[in-house]
């Protein structure tokens, strides 16, 4: 299943560098994975049970309070309140309405600032809806959590407990998965040394192992990540695939369009906080690339006009 041999070549794109070589290395003997992906590609969402149901979702940022307002600015805002009411709020996403079903491997693509990450944070329950609702039929996990909440003075083992407590995982469950985490992170006797003595790579490996130790029903991925050196990256890619396979549904936010066409079975294109297109990965990717090209042309012609305008 190398990328060159794939039949759907009209959707091949050049821009993002594919890490396929590494993916393949991790994947070589994983034929179950291939079958599973094949099944998902063919049948689409054969199992129509909802995993996530999003109804009229909107998330609004209050610009007056966003980013370190000082009392002075806020008081100034109070004085001027009547004039610029319109400017105080910003809808990062609005009127989103869609379902994610069991078996879906959904890619969310779009330019920067389209609201992709906000959507993912809403699915993870980190951002509360300002409007509408999100219903999750199962537990979620983001692989955003790598290394979050680590404490340098605690040992690796204590940090595993701390991370588990932040994630709300019961103690017995944590005790059960800890040997597996330690084993996978492969940091040897350092596991009982304070985290500040770790190298960056060791920290990243430990974080990854914790983040992937609990298998969620709905897996949320912000970019498909690889961590650490070559060997560990292959290992981690394999593990992510296993998570994807086990999860009832997967949502990936990514700029890697090659990944979208290859591993997803459904895609949505977002722009300025709304869904502008939804469909098969191939359609969406070509649609997106079309839009990017158009925008580039417009920008170029404008630049030209501007250049000639100033010179003439």
């Amino acid at each position: 299943m190398t990328s060159e041999q794939r039949p759907s070549d009209e959707t091949r794109i050049e821009e993002p560098p594919l890490s396929d070589a590494e993916l393949e290395a991790a994947d070589r003997d994983d034929s179950a994975w291939e079958q599973e992906m094949e099944r998902r590609h063919k049948g689409g969402s054969a199992d129509r049970r909802s995993a996530v149901s999003i109804r009229d979702l909107g998330i609004r940022y209050n610009l007056r309070l966003t980013r370190r307002t000082t009392l002075k600015q806020s008081l100034a805002g109070l004085v001027r309140r009547s004039e610029d009411v319109k400017q105080t709020h910003f809808w990062a996403i609005r009127n989103l309405d869609f379902d994610i079903h069991h078996g879906d491997n959904l890619a969310v693509v779009g330019p920067n600032g389209a609201g992709k990450t906000t959507l993912l944070l809403a699915l993870a329950g980190i951002l509360a809806p300002s409007e509408g609702e999100v219903e999750m039929f199962g537990g979620t996990s983001t692989l955003l959590t790598i290394g979050a909440g680590f404490d340098g003075e605690l040992t690796g083992r204590d940090n595993i407990d701390l991370a588990g407590a932040f994630l709300g995982i019961p103690h017995q469950e944590m005790a059960r998965v800890t040997p597996e985490i330690v084993d996978f992170a492969d940091i040897g006797p350092f596991i009982d040394a304070p985290l500040r003595t770790y190298s960056t790579g060791m920290k990243a490996r430990l974080g990854f192992s914790i983040a992937t130790s609990i298998v969620p029903d709905i897996l949320l991925l912000d970019e498909v990540l690889g961590t650490g050196d070559q060997t560990f990256r292959a290992k981690s890619q394999a593990r992510i695939r296993e998570l994807i396979k086990t999860a009832k549904a997967v949502v990936v936010v990514t700029h890697d369009l090659g990944y979208v066409t290859e591993f997803c079975n459904r895609a949505i294109l977002m722009e300025r906080g709304s869904i502008v297109a939804e469909g098969s990965p191939a359609e969406i990717v070509s649609n997106y690339r079309e839009r990017v090209r158009e925008r580039k042309l417009i920008a170029e012609s404008e630049a030209k006009r501007f250049a000639s305008g100033t010179s003439g």
């Binding site: 940022y61 209050n62 309070l65 966003t66 980013r67 370190r68 307002t69 000082t70 009392l71 806020s74 944070l121 993870a124 329950g125 980190i126 951002l127 509360a128 809806p129 300002s130 409007e131 509408g132 609702e133 999100v134 219903e135 999750m136 199962g138 537990g139 979620t140 996990s141 983001t142 955003l144 959590t145 979050a148 909440g149 404490d151 340098g152 003075e153 605690l154 204590d158 407990d161 701390l162 407590a165 932040f166 994630l167 709300g168 995982i169 019961p170 103690h171 469950e173 059960r176 998965v177 597996e180 130790s213 609990i214 298998v215 969620p216 029903d217 593990r239 296993e242 086990t246």
Partner: protein, 291 residues
């Protein structure tokens, strides 16, 4: 990699944040605090290990720090201003220990939410554990620093009183009061970082306005107005009570805590705590958007 999905991560409906009722918010907050005791404990342990971990003397500073602070006040008040009361070192020491706890709890608590920005945008967890853990860490710190108090009694053995056993009772009142303030301040500080900058100065002024370096017994006899105003401060009965049980009266006799004042302070603190938890829970949904 064959773990079943964890039930703890299973979530239900997430409707928009409706205007939850005041008591709904309060119940949510207290429920989360009780439910996440283990997380609070881990955070406290991490906090305690971190304190002074990078110094040569390490944990010795827990005891040394209040002793040195006492030394400064003794020099200042007894020698420079020449105004000390008998056994003044023990007199100030009775205020330094609880006040150190108070500043650690409020200082750590106020910055506790803003200090965890990264985590708040990555993991969904009840944020109220953050100020709570800071206050609990300060409390543990206080009880450890009582070792320094034991050392002081080597010099002032005749002032050792059975009322000392009531220190935990006074500490309960202080704990509730600190927790209420820390929870409220941590939420407000998320939106107005000015709070953190102001806090140090406010705390210093507050200490001088509280009966720590002085006592109502020998000051302000002729200004009933000031006495009343300064007496409204919940830290006033708390500090006076600590001094009663640790130092006693000036003539060296033992004294009981100010039970009446403590009772009022406790009632006030409990009301404040309920309001603070509601305020925190009301502001919590916006934290991830602001930090």
């Amino acid at each position: 990699m064959t773990n079943p999905p964890s039930d703890a991560l299973r979530s239900t409906v997430r409707a928009p944040v409706q205007r939850r009722s005041f008591f709904g918010l309060v119940l949510d907050g207290f429920f989360e605090l009780l439910n996440r005791r283990r997380l609070i404990r881990y955070m406290v342990v991490a906090n305690l290990k971190r304190t002074h971990a990078d110094t040569v003397l390490g944990q010795v500073w827990w005891v040394l720090d209040p002793l040195m602070q006492m030394g400064i006040y003794v020099v200042l008040v007894e020698i420079i201003f020449n105004r000390g009361t008998p056994d003044y070192p023990l007199f100030v020491f009775a205020a330094i220990l609880p006040w150190k706890w108070f500043t650690i709890a409020l200082g750590g608590g106020t910055g506790s939410v803003t200090g965890r920005e990264g985590l708040i945008r990555q993991v969904q967890f009840p944020k109220i554990v953050l100020p709570a853990a800071a206050v609990v860490a300060g409390t543990v710190n206080f009880f450890i620093s009582l070792i320094a108090l034991a050392l002081m009694y080597v010099l002032f053995l005749d002032r050792l009183s059975p009322w000392l056993l009531l220190i935990p009772v006074i500490a309960v009142v202080q704990f509730v009061f600190s927790l209420a303030l820390a929870i409220a301040l941590s939420a407000v500080n998320t939106f107005y970082r000015d709070v953190q900058n102001l806090l140090g100065h406010v705390l210093r002024l507050w200490f001088y306005a509280s009966p720590g370096l002085w006592s109502f017994q020998d000051h302000l006899q002729d200004s009933p107005f000031l006495r009343t105003v300064l007496g409204l401060n919940p830290m006033a009965p708390i500090l006076e009570s600590y001094r009663n049980v640790i130092y006693g009266n000036q003539d060296g006799t033992h004294a009981a805590p100010e039970f009446f004042g403590l009772g009022i302070a406790l009632a006030f603190s409990l009301v404040l705590l309920v309001v603070a938890v509601a305020l925190f829970k009301r502001m919590e949904p916006a934290f991830a958007k602001v930090v």
